[in-house]
Amino acid sequence: MLLSIQAARTSLSRLPLILGGNNTVALAVFLFVLFPGAVHVQANFTAVAFFAVTGFFVGSYLKYRSFLGSTCGLWAYLYLIFVMELMLSCAGSALVFASTSRVGWVWVAVGTNTLILLITLLAGMWREAKRLDFFSRQPDLWKKKLAKYLDFPRCQVSPLLSSDFPLMTKGQVVRSPIWIAAVGSANIPLFFEIFAEGRISAVLWVAPLLSGFFSYLNLIAVGPGLFRIVLLRRLEKCQGRRFVNTDLVQIQELRRGFWMARWFMKDFAGHRDGKR
């Protein structure tokens, strides 16, 4: 997805920690559920540590030096789908079976969950293709429909291209609501501990909710967004040059305030009014 200046203001400076941390959480949850036991502990820790460090350095690159164009957007979608969605929800559904000692069903659950998420992703892409008349007789109809996000003479693309969907921000700033959720996520298991049979019972609710909610996101936002990024890359191939994120100028301004930016940042001016 294309990073907008609003999203960059809230969390671009913390992106190394966010990516590293998310890599840690997602891979650790995934590996420790699917490969439990003392035999795998060392391998699991090594893999998680490697993935976390990778996340930190990729996050640092994105924080200081990335152009945040379509390549970055495509990788962001793949990251969202394969790490955030698949690993977390597969771990959840696997834990339902693992915690009930039905070990034979664990991989079936992982496979089914993956299948559901990929099918909903494809369905979301299909839905967007129909909406943009991608399959119609006129070959370039979709280009006209995407034209409102694109500035062809300046070769710029608005971040709204990938976020003009329900449940996604269209220029407004999200004040960090994470603490509310974090407090809840510590106390919901506590309720399950007091009134049900321990914190593990919460998984029986969380796993289907995770899969269902991810499927919904895939249908309405992630799938269509991914399809638009793919179309954008196709357009770039036709044009012979990359489109530049409209907000990149402002993001560069923002980056100059980051810690050690003078050494880490590549201080290009960006494209203002099509001139360097």
Binding site: L3, A76, I178, R199, V203, L204
Partner: protein, 344 residues
């Protein structure tokens, strides 16, 4: 046997199995030696009452106990007991072949709830078989059984607590060995709550906690809430997970609650070690849940989602992280680390 009767039998053996499983879990978690609190009759918050009592009485020789004794004797000297009536008595009346399910049910039924058994309760039976009756006692008992069986003597003193005697004083028919026990100190483990409370478990318990002024009852209900063995029917829900500003205070309150113990004199005691260990277990999970939830939420926020999906994802992510932490043994590991740090 009518259907209803059969159903009652099944239910009885099922309950017996359940009680025995809970007890064995409990005793594995708290070994007897480590659990003897010194003063007699300390009521603990785990849902079981432990008391030291002196056992007096006259009992028929319990089948399960005797069978284990005879089996031990058989291994050592195959010819000694083989032809005895006790062998037939013990082996003959069982309904099914060894290893079958019916046989297991029958034996468990008699071992735990059999009316004539020496120790009518599974905990005491286990203790008698494993702790009190050592090898010497077993030898003495075996010898005594053989003596009484042969009819030569009417009673044999096995040790300072036990006397085996022949209850068939008429001299006709086969001898009937009974055992007289006087002043045998035993540890009695009984459920803190009755059978009816058990079925009412969670919902009723919570109401009773809020209304009850009787501290002892409250404490027992806290034990009920703490112990996941209680509603064993929902086996897929059982898992021993630990009990952390708004994130950490509720868990801390629950841990304090579980660390309060009341002795027989009625004094409340705050078990500090227990609190530290429980906190290490619960708060580590809360901390990780907080971190995991924030990270997943931040990830979705920077991806451009609005507040609703971000909150929901942070919530679900945090809960998932906590569940995996507890399930994979991380919480128990931290508790063990805290315990080691306290002991050294």
């Amino acid at each position: 046997m009518s259907k209803l009767n059969a159903f009652a039998q099944d239910e009885k053996s099922r309950m017996a199995l359940q009680v025995q499983r809970e007890l064995s879990d409990y005793q594995r978690a708290f070994p007897l030696s480590a659990h003897s609190v010194g003063s007699a009759g300390v009521c603990r918050a785990e849902g079981w009452n432990i008391a030291f009592q002196l056992l007096d009485g006259d009992f028929d020789l319990d089948e399960a106990l005797a069978r284990s004794l005879i089996a031990g004797a058989k291994v050592r000297s195959p010819s000694a007991v083989q032809a005895s009536w006790m062998d037939q008595y013990l082996e003959g009346e069982t309904p099914d072949v060894v290893g079958s399910k019916d046989r297991l049910m029958f034996e468990l039924n008699h071992a735990v709830t059999g009316p004539g058994s020496i120790f009518g309760n599974a905990g005491a039976l286990r203790q008698a078989a494993h702790a009190r009756i050592e090898k010497a006692t077993a030898e003495a008992l075996r010898a005594a059984v053989i003596q009484v069986e042969s009819g030569t003597v009417l009673s044999v003193k096995i040790n300072e607590y036990m006397t085996l005697y022949n209850a068939n004083k008429s001299g006709q028919g086969r001898p009937r060995p009974r055992i007289r026990i006087s002043g045998l100190p035993i540890q009695v483990i009984t459920p803190a709550l009755g059978q009816s409370m058990r079925t009412a478990a969670m919902g009723m318990g919570a109401n009773a906690v809020l209304r009850s002024t009787d501290m002892l009852k409250v404490q027992r209900l806290a034990g009920l809430a703490a112990n996941s063995h209680w509603t064993g029917q929902a086996a897929f829900l059982t898992g021993k997970m630990g009990g952390g500003v708004l994130t950490f205070a509720p868990s801390a309150a629950l841990d304090v609650y579980h660390s309060l113990e009341r002795d027989l004199a009625g004094d409340l005691r705050f078990n500090r070690q227990k609190f530290v260990m429980a906190s290490a277990k619960s708060q580590s999970g809360n901390l990780l849940g907080l971190a995991g939830g924030s990270l997943v939420g931040a990830g979705f926020a920077i991806a451009g989602f609005t507040a609703a999906p971000v909150i929901l994802m942070a919530l679900l992510g945090g809960v998932l992280v906590q569940a995996v932490w507890g399930w994979s043994g991380g919480a128990d590991w931290v508790r063990a680390v805290a315990e080691r740090a306290l002991k050294h």
